[in-house]
Amino acid sequence: MNKLSPADLDKMSKVTVDKPKDWIKVGLSSCGIAAGAEDVFNFFVEEVKKRNLQIEIKKCGCTGMCYAEPLVEVSVEGLPSVIYGAVNKEVAIKILEKHVISKMLVNDYIFEVLI
């Protein structure tokens, strides 16, 4: 890998990573992993491949809502991005089928924070 010059750094910082694509982020810090987030992450990766969905599955750290782990943030074009909490495989299927495919938010699992 090439060493960065200050100009390279400027260029890289202007890349927008999130914006153009749909994504699902799974919180994979100790608290999330302890609550089973790794299974959820792998499940998403498999299902998305199986169903051939155009959505990226990403990892992220802990947002701080440890009481509601595993946390999954979903951003799909046309819908506000929301955080689902206490996600297991059943909820993960709902997220894919309802939120990602049918473009409707899923009832009963959204956790909102005031930040």
Binding site: L4, P6, S30, C60, G61, M65, G78, E112, L114, I115
Partner: protein, 580 residues
């Protein structure tokens, strides 16, 4: 396709949950008004607002309305329409809100991707430091910001840096103290796991400020994931030329290594930490000389906490002045707390300094899990104190917490309700400090042990009134004569509970009673005959067979055999077990 979303949640815990009822009503209204294809209604698990009746939140506008009645439905739907206006009399104006500086990227970026960090503005502060600021201006900027060490003591960061910078030495060191050990505190772990590059960037800037060419991460080995992510991040930084020789094309060189701590609490103290890195036994030694004068291998060394370092890139990027306008007169910026214990939403909370404890616990964390009133909040881990409910309106900053007999500490915050005993809590913390005391100095080694003995005696019902005086006397000598912070502060939990809850100590000593029902020696379980349905569930569940009798003649507890485990109390469905 929906254009708007209305989230609904009933936040009144005292009544039956009305979320579903309201949800249906709102849906019906939307269907009647033929808007159900434009607006989606969603039930949520948590709406971020507590004890405000029915709450709705309109997305993507992010407007929250509270204490909604059925007659407000039309107004809310109108307001949610594209040309709708915010309903002023219903809109929620939060008293307390989180303010994220340290946790800015946690949960947003991929911690294992340096590209993600750079794309969110990472390493631009380093570039600014190298290209524009230089050492003097950098330290000036940190001085203007007023940031103080987040590890607990709150020493001004710029002063530490300046001392080390002024030292004339060919070799200097920077160390990131990631030896987080307070029970219930895990802010540093989350930052290291969620945004490792921000800490690395902070450490590089600190090294540049003092002219160090070698840095260490001192992380406890109990944090394997944090170690792994820091390791990866360091490698990525080397690959991109952000570490190593000629960083970003400048003449500045820095190497960073990781040292694992074996989990001794005392190694979070800076002189003990230095000994540990040097390969010696992790025991503290007297200061001065301070590490910024004579530290690692006798060279000037700056040791900063994870949270302090994670703040630095933002301070530089946005300027010291910007940072200084957040917080209170003496404490600038934000603080991350790990709120745990009997609280509804346990987790990390980052607030601007000056928010009150009550706002943190009630408004942000939703109050107690059981719905029982808060009895006290413990801050600062084993070095901190217990703050009673009546003082929860104190704004949080270094000085205020100290005045109350507690400390800011690294940011552990444990919420307690009526079921927590104020003799048992300090006993737990003191027990922790006795176990973790390195044993080098007598006040800590002997004093802690003696105090714990008195607390045990009191909790077992053998206390006498003179014990409280003894506790205070030993605590004072520990504070004055101990070698390091561990011993000097180990008595804080005892002193603060003695200050605010002396009556509870007296209740244990004089009446041999534990009001919270925690101290097992002082409680007895018995079966209330009138309520007992003779189901036998206590009989089958008692692990020590201390319940005798049968379905015919009824049951009773044999006190001599009872170990006071409370199992019968928990399993009885008819509340027929009396705990006294």
């Amino acid at each position: 396709m929906y254009t708007k979303v209305i989230l609904v949640k009933d936040t009144d815990l005292k009544r039956e949950d009305k979320t579903r009822e309201f949800y249906t009503r709102l849906l019906d209204y939307l269907r009647e008004a033929n808007l159900h294809e434009q607006i989606q209604v969603v039930r949520v698990a948590d709406i971020g607002v507590y004890d405000q009746g029915l709450v709705v939140k309109v997305l993507p506008d992010k407007v929250t309305y509270t204490n909604i009645r059925d007659e407000d439905i039309k107004r809310i739907v109108d307001a949610a329409l594209p040309d709708g206006k915010v309903i002023e009399d219903l809109v929620f104006k939060p008293k307390a809100k989180q303010y994220r500086i340290v946790l800015r990227n946690c949960g947003k970026i991929d911690p294992e991707s340096i590209e993600d960090y750079i794309a969110s503005g990472g390493y631009l502060a380093l570039k600014k430091v190298l290209e524009e600021l230089g050492q003097q201006k950098l330290i000036d900027e940190i001085k203007i910001s007023g940031i103080r060490g987040r590890g607990g003591a709150g020493y001004p960061t710029w002063m530490k840096w300046n001392f080390a910078r002024e030292m004339n030495s060919a070799e200097k060191f920077v160390i990131c103290n990631a030896d987080e050990g307070d029970p219930g505190a895990y802010m540093d772990r989350s930052v290291l796991e969620g945004d490792p590059h921000s800490v690395i960037e902070g450490l590089i800037i600190a090294a540049f400020a003092i002219g160090a060419s070698k840095g260490y991460f001192y992380i406890r080995a109990e944090y394997p994931l944090a170690v792994e992510r820091i390791q990866k991040a360091i490698k990525q930084a080397y690959d991109y030329g952000l570490l190593g020789n000629n960083i970003l094309g400048s003449s500045f060189n820095l190497d960073i290594d990781i040292r694992l701590g074996a989990g001794a609490f005392v190694c979070g103290e800076e002189t003990a930490l230095i000994s540990s890195i040097e390969g010696k036994r992790g025991t503290p030694h007297p200061r001065p000389p301070y590490p910024s004068v004579k530290g690692l291998w006798g060279k000037p060394t700056v040791i900063n906490n994870v949270e302090t370092l994670a703040n630095i890139p933002v301070v530089i990027a946005k300027g010291g002045k910007w940072f200084a306008q957040i917080g209170t007169q003496t404490s600038k910026g934000t603080k991350v707390f790990a709120v745990t214990g009997k609280v509804k939403n346990s987790g990390l909370v980052e607030i601007a300094m000056g928010a009150t404890l009550r706002e943190i616990v009630m408004d942000i964390c939703g109050g107690t899990l059981s719905g029982k009133p808060i009895k006290a909040v413990q801050t600062g881990g084993p070095s901190g104190g217990v703050i009673p409910e009546k003082l929860l309106d104190t704004p949080v900053d270094y000085e205020n917490l100290q005045k109350l007999g507690s400390i800011m500490g690294s940011g552990g915050m444990i919420v307690m309700d009526d079921d927590d005993c104020m003799v048992d809590i300090p006993k737990f913390y003191l027990g922790f400090c006795v176990e973790e005391s390195c044993g080098k100095c007598a006040p800590c080694r002997i004093g802690g042990f003696q105090m714990l003995g008195y607390l045990k005696k009191i909790s077992e019902g053998r206390g006498i009134p003179e014990d409280l005086g003894q506790l205070r006397r030993i605590a004072q000598s520990m504070q004055k004569a101990s070698l390091c912070g561990l011993g000097q502060t180990a008595s804080n939990p005892v002193l603060s509970t003695l200050k605010y809850f002396e009556d509870e100590y007296n209740e244990h000593i004089l009446n041999k009673r534990c009001p919270a029902g925690k101290c097992s020696s002082l409680i007895t379980y018995s079966i209330i005959e009138d309520k007992c349905k003779r189901c036998g569930i206590c009989f089958t569940n008692c692990p020590v067979k201390a319940i005798s009798g049968g379905k015919e003649e009824g049951y009773s507890i044999v006190q001599e055999k009872c170990t006071k485990c409370g199992r019968c109390f928990d399993v009885c469905k008819f509340k027929a077990i009396n705990k006294k």
